[in-house]
Symmetry: C2
DNA sequence: CCCAATATGTAGCTTAAGCTACGTTTTAGG
DNA sequence: CCTAAAACGTAGCTTAAGCTACATATTGGG
């Protein structure tokens, strides 16, 4: 059984994608999930440095709502991936690579949030949902979001 | 250091949310991430049963792009959470709870996909991104998406 | 200048999701 | 009807993210 790949493709109400296409999509989602944490940290570190002048491990932990050893563990992963460095009692710093990632992530975050708001999602929900959604938005979608926002701004202005 | 919570709230370009609000958002995203896998499985099982008459562990593994022991492990988790049952060499079946979840997840998936398409995201990207985004869309956002789609359908019809 | 509060570090555990390697059970085709 | 392919199961490993408990290091205030 179950060995009837393409031949029997009757257009059911919920037509399945091909195995390959579906596996590719799920694979992308898995990758996004595994980098989501890194992106969250890098984004938060950038935000903290910009608004308070420093990013301390304890502050990061508190803002993420996790214990400080958890934060330290993940920061160790950031170091391994050459995204950040740390000077004990002096805070966490982003490498060039980390800053580049932070810029991309923050731009994406803003765009996702704006789109949700433009679609009429209430502010609080939009901010919460954006935190999860942002990690799964491709370049192609970002482009579309940006164009869409330009469109609604023009419409509003007219 | 770093102990200057609310008092020093100068409106910087990237104003931070309060610690509590941010922790709550990240917590929600973490929860969503941990249920995303369950939702993917339940949705896929429902799709397979509907379109091929059965959901076999091996097919699930192939479609997710993971090894079959990985699929079996996660299906064990589905059983533990009372979302599915299995009859060896007969396939995986959803419990009442599993079917209820599948219905919700599929409706949400469809809505997210439609919104992405309505925003002008190319089909292939929309389908890939929806796979990751769907797990992070709250009820409030779903409501807004639904209203937005009604609006664009009316606009198109006029 | 010293000591308590705060920050940081370490150890060791849990759960989840992945993997490979190997074994067992069905089932279907010749 | 019997055996090979496919499906299923089990063992045991890895990495990541979370936790608690405990230990150490800094620093600011009195």
């Amino acid at each position: 059984m179950s060995r009837k790949a393409s031949p029997a493709r009757k257009p059911s109400p919920h037509a399945l994608p091909t195995e390959q296409a579906q596996a590719r999509r799920f694979g992308k989602a898995r990758t996004a999930r595994s980098t989501a944490i890194l992106e969250d940290y890098v984004e938060l570190i950038a935000d903290l440095i910009e608004s308070t002048g420093e990013a301390r491990a304890t502050d990061i932990a508190r803002r993420l709502g996790v214990s400080h050893p958890t934060a330290i563990n993940t920061i160790a992963r950031l170091k391994r991936e050459d995204l950040a460095t740390a000077r004990p009692y002096r805070g966490i710093f982003l490498t060039e690579k980390g800053e580049a990632l932070a810029r991309r992530v923050r731009a994406r975050h803003r765009l996702v949030l704006e789109v949700l708001l433009a679609l009429g999602v209430p502010k609080e929900a939009a901010e919460a949902d954006a935190e999860g959604i942002e990690h799964h938005v491709s370049e192609a979608s970002l482009k579309a979001f940006s164009d869409f926002l330009k469109g609604s701004r023009i419409k509003k202005a007219s």
